[in-house]
């Protein structure tokens, strides 16, 4: 799986083109705030079964809190 770094404006452009947002933070953090339309699968729970919620035909933008 390759990873590529995107800026805020590029993220907005990708979302307009149909990309999915995946929030890998803990559920309580997600409940407090998240990017509009994001799906939450906490990193510890991310596997083939939980990832089945994602549309395999659309790009997936993964984010956590900040750098690191």
């Amino acid at each position: 799986m390759s990873a590529k770094v995107f800026s805020v404006s590029e993220v907005k452009q990708l979302l307009e083109q149909g990309a999915q947002l995946l929030d890998v933070l803990a559920a309580d953090e997600f409940e407090h705030d998240h990017l509009p339309g994001a799906i939450n699968i906490p990193l510890k729970l991310l596997d083939a079964t939980t990832a089945a919620r994602l549309d395999r035909n659309r790009p997936v933008l993964v984010y956590c809190n900040d750098f690191g």
């Binding site: 800026s7 409940e31 997936v60 933008l61 900040d66």
Partner: protein
């Protein structure tokens, strides 16, 4: 799979929308006024003063809108031939738009800030200003609305 490395903090620091319980919070990016006058480093105080009548604040920015300094009443009343760069208060304290109103007010009280606070993106680009009076009034109004609800 695309790794959005800057993460949600950078998203919020650009004053982008959010979902979740935090929608019910007041973040200062939601309430900061964007009408504050700005000027360049090379503009003279005389020109700025003519352009900003009625204001006691002018933010000195670079061509990208990044905050470089601040002119308050004292500087705006200084030598008309001086440039903004010569008299400005460099590197003013700024706040990110994802700071809550309560956090901003605490900081303003702790640092005895009575006037306008600048709200900028993570990269320092000016988004707007919020006065302590407006921040206090907004919070009182919000608390009253929650009490009534």
């Amino acid at each position: 799979m695309i790794d959005y490395v800057p993460g949600k903090t950078a998203w919020y620091e650009e004053n982008q929308p959010r979902e979740g319980k935090a929608v019910d919070e007041i973040w200062i990016g939601d309430v900061a006024g964007s009408e504050v006058p700005t000027c360049s480093l090379t503009e003279t105080i005389g020109d700025i003063r003519r352009r900003t009548q009625g204001w006691d604040t002018c933010v000195v920015v670079d061509p990208r809108g990044v905050v470089l300094g601040l002119l308050r009443k004292k500087e705006l009343e200084s030598d008309a031939n001086a440039t903004a760069e010569q008299v400005m208060r460099p590197g003013p304290k700024t706040f990110r738009p994802n700071v809550t109103l309560q956090e901003l007010l605490k900081s303003m009280r702790d640092h005895e800030i009575q006037t306008n606070s600048l709200v900028t993106t993570g990269e320092g680009r000016l988004l707007g200003v919020i006065s302590r009076a407006d921040a206090e009034a907004t919070l009182i109004h919000e608390n009253a609305a929650q009490g009534a609800g």
